[in-house]
Amino acid sequence: MFESKINLEIKVCMGTGGIAAGGTEVLAAFDSALKERDIQAKLQMGCSMHKVGCRGLCAKDVLVDVIINNSKSTYQYIKPEMVQRIVDEHIVGGNPVADWLVADDYHNFYKKQVKVVLSDCGNIDPENIDSYISAGGYKATEKVFKSMSPEDVITEIKKSGLRGRGGAGFPTGVKWEACRGVQSEQKYIICNFMDRAVIEGNPHAVIEGMVIGAYAIGASKGYVYIRAEYPLAVERLKLAIKAAKERKFLGNNILDSSFSFDIKIKLGAGAFVCGEETALIAFIEGQRGMSRAKPPFPVYQGLWGKPTVINNMETLANIPYIINKGADWYSSYGTEKSKGTKVFALTGKVKNTGLIEVPMGITLREIIYDIGGGIQGDKALKAVQIGGPSGGCITPDMLDINVDYESLAKVGSIVGSGGMIVLDEDDCMVNVAKYFLSFTQAESCGKCVPCRIGTKRLLEMLDRITKGKGKEGDIELLEKLSSDVKAASLCGLGQTAPNPVLSTIKYFREEYEAHLQGKCPAKVCRDLLTYYIIEELCKGCGACLRACPAGAITGEKKKPHHINRQLCIKCGACFDVCKFKAVGRE
């Protein structure tokens, strides 16, 4: 039944999401099922089976590609016990298991995306350098060492228009050029951690980016800062560094040139502020991750006082692709001032959540409705919060905005770290602001007063407001303190932490005012809710009475029940258990 020339490839998604969903077991199940059928022996070289990095749609893990003679079928939600059937019916029988194949939403998810940084993620085996090389990896390094001077590299990167993906969006080529221009016997390049996906899926691209960057600025040492909470990423990076050294893409005399460059891994302890460049420098120096005043800027006086370029992981992963395909190719994507693509973590109330890479300038509408598949439960979109914990909100009337640095900044949001959270009618904006602020407050390095105490006071005010204890003038005070904290804080954390507050007040002021009046329109703030029983709907089943932990509900069987507001602790248990929607809340 097999043709002798059949070419079979199986790719199992083994990013952290994939592994958590059982990727390792699925891979093992394929292995034994195929062995049992003696397929490997028969297919000889024709069959390969491997793990690949994350492909973005983690919600659907474990994702498996079965590629037979270049025709690919993708399965979703695969568990080990399902493997046998795929082998039997699809690989042996030739008929894909239709029930388990990914549906339209999977394809739509990819359609509007443009993958550069993530282009090889999900295709290559991140633990195998040959897999990367055969996909064109390290060509850029070869090209640079063979035919480009450091200045050429800088020119090319400047021409590509690549801007830092770590938040500030500073032109990468300009940063490199500044560092190149500083005289020093020692320089450093630091790769700032962002998201585990790139490192897990394609660690070599990051290494390549660093090698090229180091060559451009004249650094002999590099550090990759990576959070210790992501052991898989760490492991894969270690393997990749080792392999790159063995092949002379890294280490002494790279590709037999006179240039040497080594990379060390610095494991982070999870402090958010360590992502801030000066705090990161302090941390790598062995001190507490605490921001330092700029100037002096790191490109002049960075790590141990030496000129240092700090780039985001995603920024660096773009480099080899730009060198390979050219600045013009890269800058063909994006808008006038924001070139190329950007990775976003799309989360919240959209149907398809996951990691996406889109060309700069794509509209928010396309992201949410085409890629994201629209709002879950087809509820009303309320806002999109972009840029991570210190980003800003965008309202539905602005959905046609271009997602790029300038346009987002204009409406009080940022590209930032690439977080994109979709909020619907059930989200309370005051609560959202409080949520983000409680994160940034807890992560403040504690050095400067406005951030350490100011954000705490903002948080307290928000907390008061959500608890119905807000006062006349609180909104104005929030605005005043927010702007003072922004103006007076030392580093980016404090300077941006109040953004969610300002942005939600700007677009949802009436929601704040409603809270001051004792109402939470989204019905989220518990203290502002009152629970009551709608007598007309109540069947007197007693479910709520049994569920209430506070004994606040009374009533006879088959007769309308009653909630004692004095006793009610607003836990919402009755609301959840009532089958007849007889419990109301306001």
Binding site: K447, V449, R457, L481
Partner: protein, 346 residues
């Protein structure tokens, strides 16, 4: 040597000079809390912010080096407003303890609060409450009064090379701690106490011994090792109640545990207070005249019996030059022997 213009006045300063230092040279006041002239700049309190032409946001003058042609404005309504907010924020997390605080009257924070007229606090809220007190015998650490200016951390590391304390925790809970929050166990030089701008760090020895306004300060020299650090004795009612050292001394205000905390022997109750003569193995208090006459009589006696060289004198490396000079003069000129030495070798 870059030139900088501050509030309309121009000055040329050495490369690397900060805006704050340049302003000082011009005698232009800028409020500071975390800045300390002997430590590397910290930039945490944000009080020293100024406006620099061409930079969109206020910058801290203590951390910003002057560059050629810089134009600085040290006080604008916005800047003063931000400073006030910052101070109010600090005070919103500070005990209202000035009435019983050791540092009242000698506290930078108090002074600034007065200067900015801060009373009502728009930002009143939760305060950090720490019950734990440190069990060490030298330094009181009242962390509720700590404004996290970082001076103590810096002095301990940069000057003393000990690093006994560092910032711990994050966010509002940030705090100066020892490793594992154990009791302080360090060299107890008290440098941190000396640089703390508030009442957070004080000497346990000087608790309730009198606040600065009641105290007379006398400059002298440390009685211990040969370094000869300059110290200032703080006197209240004929008692040394505290020792400090001025920043403009050659020792830059730094002392060690002995110099800073080792003064209590002065007022020790077992100080000798009267001349004593031993009779039948027992000391008896006598008048000075009696003791001196007795000494003279005995020495004359021995000298005439055995010669001057039967008498020896040992003077002290802890006495003054003048006393030592007179002592050897006494031995040589009055008694007539060169048998005089001191303990230089011991």
């Amino acid at each position: 040597m870059p030139k900088v213009t501050i509030d309309g006045r121009t000055i040329e300063v050495p490369t690397g000079t900060t805006v704050l230092d340049a302003a000082k040279m011009l005698d232009i006041p800028i409020p500071t809390l975390c800045y300390h002239p002997k430590l590397t700049p910290f930039g945490g309190c944000r009080l020293c912010i100024v406006e620099i032409k061409g930079i969109p946001r206020p910058v801290t003058s203590c951390t910003t080096p002057v560059s050629e042609g810089m134009e600085v404005t040290t006080s604008t309504p916005q800047i003063e407003d931000l400073r006030k907010t910052v101070l109010e924020l600090i005070l919103s997390d500070h005990p209202n303890d000035c009435m019983v605080c050791e540092r009242a009257g000698d506290c930078t924070l108090q002074e600034l609060a007065y200067f900015y007229g801060i009373r009502e606090n728009r930002f009143a809220g939760e305060r950090r409450i720490y019950t734990k007190r440190d069990g060490n015998p030298f330094i009181e650490r009242d962390l509720e009064k700590c404004i996290l200016c970082g001076r103590c951390v810096k002095v301990c590391d940069e000057v003393q090379g000990v690093g006994a304390i560092d910032f711990g925790y994050r966010g509002f809970k940030s705090k100066i701690c020892t490793p594992y929050e154990k009791d302080l166990d360090c060299e107890f030089c008290g440098q941190c106490v000396a640089v703390c701008p508030t009442g957070a760090l004080t000497g346990k020895l000087w608790a309730f011994k009198g606040r600065q306004k009641d105290i007379k300060e006398i400059d002298t020299v440390c009685p211990y090792c040969g370094t000869g650090c300059n110290i200032t004795l703080h006197i209240r009612r004929n008692e040394v109640v505290r020792v400090t050292s001025r920043e403009d001394t050659w020792n830059e205000g730094w002392l060690c545990v002995k110099g800073r905390f080792g003064y209590k022997f002065i007022s020790s109750s077992d100080r000798l207070k009267k001349p004593l003569i031993k009779r039948n193995g027992q000391f008896e208090e006598v008048s000075w005249d009696k003791a001196l006459d007795y000494i003279a009589e005995k020495l004359n006696d021995i000298k005439s019996k055995y010669g001057a060289d039967a008498i020896g004198g040992l003077s002290s490396a802890r006495c003054t030059n003048e006393e030592n000079y007179l002592f050897q003069k006494l031995m040589r000129a009055a008694i007539g022997t060169n048998n005089v030495d001191h303990c230089a070798r011991l």
